[in-house]
Subunit: 339 residues, 2 copies
Amino acid sequence: LDFNYVEQARARQAQLTKPAGSLGRLEEIAAQVAGITRSVIPVVQRRAVVVMAADHGVTAEGVSAYPKDVTPQMVLNFLAGGAAINALARQAHADVIVVDIGVAADLEHPNLLSRKVRRGTANMAREAAMSEVEVLQAINIGIAVLENLAEQGLDLVATGEMGIGNTTAASALSACLLDVPAEYVTGRGTGIDDQQLAHKVRIIERAIAHNAPDISQPLDVLAKLGGLEIAGLVGVILAAASRRIPIIIDGFISSAAALVAWSLAPTVRDYLFAGHLSVERGHRLILEKLDLEPLLNLNLRLGEGTGAVLAMHIIEGALRTHKEMATFSEASVSNKDNA
Amino acid sequence: LDFNYVEQARARQAQLTKPAGSLGRLEEIAAQVAGITRSVIPVVQRRAVVVMAADHGVTAEGVSAYPKDVTPQMVLNFLAGGAAINALARQAHADVIVVDIGVAADLEHPNLLSRKVRRGTANMAREAAMSEVEVLQAINIGIAVLENLAEQGLDLVATGEMGIGNTTAASALSACLLDVPAEYVTGRGTGIDDQQLAHKVRIIERAIAHNAPDISQPLDVLAKLGGLEIAGLVGVILAAASRRIPIIIDGFISSAAALVAWSLAPTVRDYLFAGHLSVERGHRLILEKLDLEPLLNLNLRLGEGTGAVLAMHIIEGALRTHKEMATFSEASVSNKDNA
């Protein structure tokens, strides 16, 4: 953050026609975006959500309530405009950028960014999810996607994902990078029962034990446990921060990507907003680690970027009040101190 | 609520391309609005926030950080479009309806609804804030304002207010209607210090002791403790519920009005959404009494309807996903049960 701009934004807030601090987090958001973008009165006109899609070999172990065919089906649904993320992105005037970074099916569509690194990860319960080369490829794809968007003009980006089995990968990653037992960060994903949840925890424990990632090396953890879409989002987050573009992270999967990005480059944290608090139990622990307070808490657990895009309205509200409100002197309103 | 429509809305939600329940509160909101409006796929196109403004005689006791001149000054600021509520209403495409229901100053403006019952309430620390006739006049004004909006077409209404000293009135009302000590429901308003807060609590205790309202009679409590803008909002809430229009209540003052309305007619509760949780300490207790879960929690304490209007985006998100998402069969996506 550029604290020169943070301070200038705060000074403006103190002059606006409201009791000091009465807009609460909206005031903090405005100051943070000012510090991110080096603009005293920033705008977030041009918006996008990057939805990275990939499959997970670990679904062979029966960790998800849905079959993996749903990944390509939902990618086509995104491209046809029929998913929750499409409805919410239309509302928020955000472009939906769909990236096939590793779906285990052949997909073609004029609006699909086909950047397949491989057809799904390997089954991490038996081998490394991907190689070191592949994880770097996936991160670079995320960087390139963001750079391309930034070249066209981008003020605010949200992270989204689709991949049957990806809560399993996110839980495994979180357990390693937060150094907590797998059960602390493993939830029901798309909707498994108690017995399936216990099985999912055991699979994650087995994957970690079998691959023995070096937890001091985030890329080793990411390569061994996956997934490709998470690696892609790591690239998106790193590139957006380096471009001084505010990033809204979505739920558990996106936050696992943020955790990896933060492990690689701790300063990215200042460029992040947590869109919401997911029902997935690992999410809260990641946000606490990153010291991020979620903007919304609506019991969402869908992913796709839905909570992040819904939170765009909060960011916009913060910047609209910051920009559009009259000052005490402009409006001839008595301030507390000159009463 | 018409549960026939609630059930039909839930049946639709179960067919949309997402894991069951994964949109959390958005799904509940869609079902509730369906039940309110008797529409399986409701819309909230035409929106307004009704901002009732009035003064409070109790400011003579030094209970506020701001002078009472700020009430008319801020009304003019609303009419000029320079306040926080204007910025947020522009974002939410909501009309701002400003009503002078009891400002202690002469105000004229083509867009102001001049419905002054009296020039501010009397000082409740020494006498009843208003008469029984005046409280009914104020409620009727709120009803008439809402009816007029509804005639022109209204799908969603938010409540807002302005009145220096009105947290004092709301605290006094809440203490009586929740039957709790004044200090439980008294906060810092626009920003008083510890000593001033203790003074404010004593003034509220004195007002309650002196007026001895009959806590089983909500209108007696409202007349004796005020304020005019709160009574006006009671009318807005009652009329909107009777018109089957969903209502988003804002912070502490608006919620005190909702508490009075609920005391008069408990079924209004089902037509209410709590926009946000205010910093004002009494707010949580009112929402718990009404069994309402706030949609946002952003440390706001400005009033004006700001939190309620910001929450309109959440309601819209709920209804957009409900309306615009493809079903499993439309999108050829495998559901959990037919996998």
